[in-house]
Symmetry: C2
Subunit: 428 residues, 2 copies
Amino acid sequence: MTAHRRLTIGLFGFGVVGEGLYKVLHQTLSLNATIKKICIKDPHKKRNAPAELFTTDRDELLNDETINVIVEVINESDAAFQIISIALKNNKAVVSASKKMIAEHLPEILRLQQETGMPFLCESSACASIPVIRNLEEYYDNDLLHSLRAIVNGSTNYILTKMFENKLDFKTALLEAQQLGFAEANPTLDVDGWDAAHKWVILLCHAYGIVTTTDNILFTGIQNVNENDANVGREKNYEIRLVAQAKKLMNGKIAAFVLPQFVKRDDHLSFVKNEYNGVVIESSFADKQFFYGKGAGSFPTASAVLSDISALRYDYRYEYKKLYHHTPNELTNDFYVRVYMSFDEWDFIPREKFEWIEEWHAQEARPDGMAGRGRKYLIAVIHFKHLAENTWWKQNNTSIILAPDPIIEDMELRKLKKKSLELAGISQ
Amino acid sequence: MTAHRRLTIGLFGFGVVGEGLYKVLHQTLSLNATIKKICIKDPHKKRNAPAELFTTDRDELLNDETINVIVEVINESDAAFQIISIALKNNKAVVSASKKMIAEHLPEILRLQQETGMPFLCESSACASIPVIRNLEEYYDNDLLHSLRAIVNGSTNYILTKMFENKLDFKTALLEAQQLGFAEANPTLDVDGWDAAHKWVILLCHAYGIVTTTDNILFTGIQNVNENDANVGREKNYEIRLVAQAKKLMNGKIAAFVLPQFVKRDDHLSFVKNEYNGVVIESSFADKQFFYGKGAGSFPTASAVLSDISALRYDYRYEYKKLYHHTPNELTNDFYVRVYMSFDEWDFIPREKFEWIEEWHAQEARPDGMAGRGRKYLIAVIHFKHLAENTWWKQNNTSIILAPDPIIEDMELRKLKKKSLELAGISQ
């Protein structure tokens, strides 16, 4: 019987997650893991733990040979990367929650793992309490994963839910999210989609062996979604979610993006409300799976860190099978999407860039005189490459929301276009 | 860096799951696992695999020292137990999908693991493709798990969905389930709740460290649920599910049962339709989590077996922390439940056994003259112990369905009773 490794932990960071972890570890004695030292930035702040545990000198942790696990839950990306680099080189296993840092340094982190042979676990970096990384590593193999659709950012999901269900405007909903602690004081990372894109970089690696950056993933947040969009959604019996999506196309390449999306009421993601996260995975073998849980917060994040610590006892590491044991997948922008767009002026919209337009609504005001406020909208099909190479669609207050099931592949396009033009009474 | 163990597998059973696993393994070469021999019962049946792989002599697998993993996916409980016992004693790791066998021999299987030090993994035995056992082992520790509610049987869930959504009667729905392969030719194990109870025995062990048998868990299936019940549910905006439930009561003991239950439309379990399974876990740290996926079928089951095989490469084993590292939890029948019951005759119902009755409906026929057919029903509160010690509630075609949030603890009872009697205009 394998003896479990005794874990001696050096912890970086004692904010909500760090303190949560400290409490959680205290309540799970069976784990056989102890925190030996905690490195913090501000030595004067009052902490809910014995003073002798704390230090401001990172080398006290990184050079301590009795510490075999470094857990890093700090907020600064550059400092976090330095810490985990030294830790791996000093033969320490690493558990990290820093999604931004991981997304920004993915190639280096992969290389460090290969060079040092040390495990680097980061379950909490995407969807916190939902064990999605472990499942992608263990359950799904390269050629079997058809698609991945997820709500990975709780703040924006909370705001969208409130806009939709309580008919709050964007600003009021954001303020409420901030008051409840679901959104940061500076909400740009969440609201503009950066946080979701960081998580998507991490998950694309574990799902498809793709090593990329946010520069190569088309994303936006919910900054331009407005009440009028919510009204259109309600009319069509759709809800709005910020959806991170990846799909294996018929040519074997991967379409991936993070964009607001209309979802049907019977879509699993429509079930995910408020600050929750959810992941829908479709594959050949397990078929359709849906994971739902809290994606942020002190204890949900700490519980994911804890599961990584627990896995280290039996030498668990990610194998990155899709990256190292298969031909890794490639991203592509060569497909079409069906989009809804709302905007203030027709002049902002280069109509000739669409393959075809299915609906256009040019009303200057809604019948009730309330919500329209001159917003116009269209539903149309556009080449994804055009969106990837241009930015007009997120400027001038223009709002883009993908249609349900938005991806249209090359071979479907002609057929769909013909049908759509026939419906509109136009023959070519 | 730990070298991964090379796995050489002896497979027992080549039915839908065994053949599914064989195909799945062929498509996941990176696993470094090969099937050396397959033991089957009928040597004359045509098989979709090379003839030299097959044998009818189990000792060819169990005594082969080059085989280090026995995977057992046969249907016969007694034979399966013999196989896994010998395998563990011969120092082979075991992966089993036989829920009935595991539930019937749990104490022996636990003892065998302790004596031999060999791992026994069985993720596929409960909810197939949903990694619930691994999550209960790794994520949740003893004092943190508030409750577990699950739909663990796909056949009955399919039948209930069809009765509810398509207004089919029980027999037609069952026939449809059988034609689609979601129910066995002999459906008693599924329909009467045995299969769900077996899975609940397994999950109670991993969740709470409780080692019990189906004799000690109150359960019934959906055999007596009828269209009238579905109508009552619809009127109240509830759906019906066969729910396996476990809850830590305020006295620290565990209430556990498998019974039909009304669920509200916004309940996570109401989202689980057709042949799918779902598990809702509430805990202090991860808060509320919901896992959803296929609970049966060739590939979903094979994918769970595969994840166990994959875990064996890094010597993963269940620790049964709640059983061995904590004071194990105890089951209790000392609580009350709010129940709906429908029946043909008042004489079948010992009314004095209820704490109080909140509604009674004695109509001989419904206004539309259709669905009522003389069924009567009541909603009442009863001591769970009474249900556990008597069987009148499942005889004479009596149907029992728990109310949403059915558990009432001792200290809540008096308050609720007073309020309920006041509402009924009765003062004590």
